[in-house]
């Protein structure tokens, strides 16, 4: 058995030296310095160069990703990749998505903690009657927290309407993304192209509606700084929106690659990764819809 495996072993491709990683490190450096400086400047209303450093960092990062992926695509198309290497990429992507899950878990954790522990305690639950009585007299623990202990008021965002439409849009896009994948595996290029295109359009509509919803939220007084309800609402939906944006960009790149004839029924790691990512952002949205909007 072992002998057999060795006979069929295709050498693992170890790339030559590459300039892209160090450019990526410089990009992250610029982004960190720029974002750090810009944050202070914005919140203090100061003038400075933070935004330019940040933009330079983002530009460098885009340059790096483009160059790096160009290399990868070239290598993949010239048949340097073995099945084993392809497995490495798949596993790497799977673990990356797991790390993203844990990132969202931190914010969901904050939401659950606030709802089940922090806010009831402020309202006098458990052995905290005096906390409520002395520090926050008159504060009532209810969710959504429309009036904070400090007195800030906000409005609830209902789940019927835009959020429901957005849920249906994303769920549909998961289905179309799946059929695009099926099309690729059965070598039906037309189905692949159409279904992926449809997924992208649904993703874009979702994002547009999300912007619409944010404008609406600010009009009715639900803002980022309006207490725990607004905090968790905007942080969770905001990070989700950023992930949908990234997912859409990935799908658009994939669509253009498909038009150029890339990917075969048995060699399409990039497509697989993109579709996994898309399903992941959908699952996060379903969680959001339940825990942020409905419950």
């Amino acid at each position: 058995m072992a002998q057999q495996e060795v006979k069929e072993y295709q050498k693992y491709y170890v790339p030559e030296q590459s300039i892209w990683p160090i450019i990526g490190a410089v990009a992250l450096f610029l982004i960190a310095v720029g974002a750090g400086t810009f944050t202070v400047e914005v919140s203090k209303g100061k003038e400075g160069h933070g935004e330019w450093i940040l933009l330079a960092g983002i530009a460098t990062l885009i340059f790096m990703v483009t160059g790096w992926f160009r290399n990868q695509i070239h290598e993949s198309m010239s048949g340097l990749y073995s099945d084993q290497l392809s497995r490495s990429y798949r596993q790497g992507m799977a673990w990356f998505i797991f790390s993203e899950v844990m990132f969202f878990a931190a914010f969901f954790g904050a939401l659950f903690y606030a709802r089940t522990i922090a806010i009831p305690w402020l309202g006098g639950a458990s052995n905290n009657a005096m906390t409520n009585e002395v520090l926050w007299p008159g504060f009532e623990a209810v969710w959504p927290l429309l009036q904070t202990p400090g007195g800030t008021e906000s409005t609830q965002m209902g789940w019927f309407g835009l959020p429901l439409i957005n849920t249906l849009l994303l769920l549909t896009s998961s289905v179309t993304c799946h059929y695009a994948h099926v099309g690729l595996e059965q070598d039906k290029r037309k189905q692949l192209s159409w279904m992926l295109g449809l997924t992208i359009i649904l993703g874009c509509i979702f994002l547009a509606l999300q912007v619409e919803e944010y404008i609406h939220a600010y009009e009715i007084g639900l803002t980022l700084d309006s207490g725990m309800y607004g905090n968790t609402f905007f942080m969770l939906t905001g990070f989700h929106g950023m992930h949908v944006t990234l997912g859409t960009v990935i799908l658009i790149v994939l669509w253009f690659r498909i038009q150029k004839g890339h990917f075969t029924p048995d060699n399409h790691f990039a497509f697989q990764a993109g579709s996994w990512y898309w399903h992941f952002v959908d699952v996060v949205w379903v969680m959001l819809f339940f825990f942020v909007y409905i419950l």
């Binding site: 300039i19 892209w20 990683p21 410089v26 673990w95 954790g109």
Partner: protein, 533 residues
């Protein structure tokens, strides 16, 4: 499989091209070689170790006598904070990642790490991240001064404006760690040579597999919590502010949900290293290999349900305190299994005491002391007394310095001949070991006493009755710091290849794939996988 054979021929043709080693700075900047990247990680972590150590010297100089003499309290706070951050994220973690890079591919018979370019990216993020962190010390208002745990509201309401830079530097450190961990996990999962089954894997590989899982699970949570600190401080959210419906205690829950697994991230690879060194110099196979694997996995799983033992005194229902107390004490079972196995491995072995073994034995004894004081701290009512005293400082320095760092030094001595091809200078090594061993105990052992007597941690001044002990602690600290310069001299000598040539096996009792290749290890190893029987 004609394509496979074609590729094989094609690659054999490439071989010459592959074997030249790039020269100059470009070699290090653009490298995709796991050994080069391992070397970079190790040197970086050593430089950070000396930097963080210098900050510890400032702390000990201030505490040499009662009263405020050398630095002002705000600067003292910056020193304790940045010392902690540097030692955790800059010294211990990168050192283990460096060892993983050097050793895992050689131990499992892989040609390199699974994702070599991402490997380079993971490393080169780190110097930039620490450049940001260190330069924030020179900013107006000073650097981070809220302790490495950056509890809210110290890090939100009461922190200087360099906090934003702190947050983003932690973000990019996290990106580096997550990518490094993904690389390790994929390498182990997917790159083992034929016949290298799960239960044949060397212990260092096992412990790193589990460590990598912990890293991927908790580093994103750290990213989440620093993000909340950022928005609380600058964008008006109130995650950690009761007036807005949040809770500063929630900060501690989220932070320690990261922080406790993080503690095991810094010790599990150490367990792996010790499980290699003791069998070699006892000339016996590791006692209870399978139980070591299961113990490691149990420790990792338990690490997710014990976080609140760091916050017994900050406000929790009694039922929760009891749960976290018992869950924490449960960890001593798998840890006890490990210590038992190491001792049983030495039992009736043909022991010799080369320097790696000296460090390993010191590890077993001193780490156990740290473990036992941890057990004391786990008892909720007792912790009410010990919380935030020097007893806690003594505890975590025993597990981190004489635990994690001693294991890293043991590993450095053990594998250095394989890396450089020459034996290290044994005289210097023995000086380094004995000076470190004595001074580290002078440094940390009396902290137990001053802690039990009530001296609070993170304060630049103290009551007069602690003066004598603190003088000795400081002397121990300076001696330990100076001892590491011996290590520096030894490393420079070994890297300049001054010393007796080492054989392939290096140590008489050493077993494993890495000892079957020549010393120094060739630039590329196992380009076609060996077969493990």
């Amino acid at each position: 499989m004609s394509t496979a054979t074609d590729t094989l021929h094609h690659d054999e043709h490439d071989e010459h091209h592959h074997h030249h080693i790039p020269k100059g700075i470009k070699r290090w900047l653009f490298t995709t070689n796991h050994k080069d990247i391992g070397t970079l990680y190790l040197w970086f972590s050593f430089i950070m170790f000396l930097t963080g150590g210098a900050m510890a010297m400032i702390i000990r100089a201030e505490l040499f006598q009662p009263g405020l003499q050398i630095v002002d309290p705000n600067f003292f706070n910056q020193m304790t904070t940045v010392h902690g951050l540097i030692m955790v994220f800059g010294a211990v973690m990168p050192a283990f990642t460096g060892l993983a890079n050097w050793l895992i591919p050689m131990m499992i018979g892989a040609p390199d790490m699974a994702l070599p370019r991402m490997n380079n990216w993971s490393f080169w993020i780190l110097p930039f991240a620490f450049l940001i962190l260190l330069s924030s010390l020179f900013m107006e208002g000073g650097g981070p001064a809220f302790g490495w745990t950056f509890y809210a509201p110290l890090s939100t309401t009461y922190s200087s404006d360099s906090t934003a830079l702190f947050v983003f530097s932690v973000h990019i450190m996290g990106i580096s760690s997550i990518m490094g961990a993904i690389n390790v996990i994929v390498t182990i999962w997917n790159m083992r040579a034929p016949g290298m089954t799960w239960m044949k894997m060397p212990m260092f590989v096992w412990t790193w597999l589990i460590t990598a899982f912990l890293l991927i699970a908790v580093m994103p949570v750290l990213a989440g919590v620093v993000t909340m600190v950022l928005t609380d401080k600058y964008f008006g959210t109130s995650f950690f502010n009761a007036a807005g419906g949040g809770d500063p205690v929630m900060f501690q829950h989220i932070f320690w949900f990261f922080g406790h697994p993080e503690v095991y991230i810094m010790i599990l690879p150490a367990f792996g290293i010790i499980s290699h060194i003791i069998p070699t110099f006892a000339r016996k196979p590791l006692f209870g290999y399978a139980s070591m694997v299961y113990a490691t996995a149990s420790i990792a799983l338990l690490s997710f349900i014990v976080w609140a033992h760091h916050m017994f005194t900050t406000g929790m229902p009694v039922a929760a305190e009891m749960f976290f107390m018992f869950a924490t004490m449960l960890i001593s079972v798998p840890t006890g299994v490990k210590v038992f196995n190491w001792v049983a491995t030495m039992w009736r072995g043909s022991m010799t005491f080369e320097v790696p073994m000296l460090f390993a034995i010191a590890f077993v004894v001193l780490f156990t002391i740290g473990g036992l004081s941890g057990l004391m701290l786990a008892i909720t009512p007792v912790d009410f007394q010990y919380h935030d005293t020097y007893f806690v400082v003594a505890h975590f320095h025993y597990v981190l310095v004489t635990g994690a760092i001693f294991s890293i030094m043991a590993a450095a001595y053990y594998w250095l001949p394989k890396w450089t091809g020459v034996m290290y200078d044994n005289t210097l090594a023995k000086w380094h070991f004995w000076a470190s061993l004595v001074s580290v105990n002078v440094l940390f052992f009396p902290m137990h006493f001053v802690g039990l007597a009530g001296m609070p941690r993170r304060i630049p001044d103290y009551a007069l009755q602690f003066a004598d002990f603190n003088k000795w602690i400081s002397i121990g600290g300076f001696a330990f710091g100076l001892s590491q310069l011996i290590f520096l001299a030894l490393l420079i000598k070994a890297c300049r290849k001054k010393g007796e040539p080492a054989s392939a096996q290096v140590w008489e009792g050493a077993e494993g794939l890495e000892w079957e290749i020549p010393s120094p290890a060739p630039y590329h190893t196992f380009e076609t996988p060996p077969i493990i029987k």
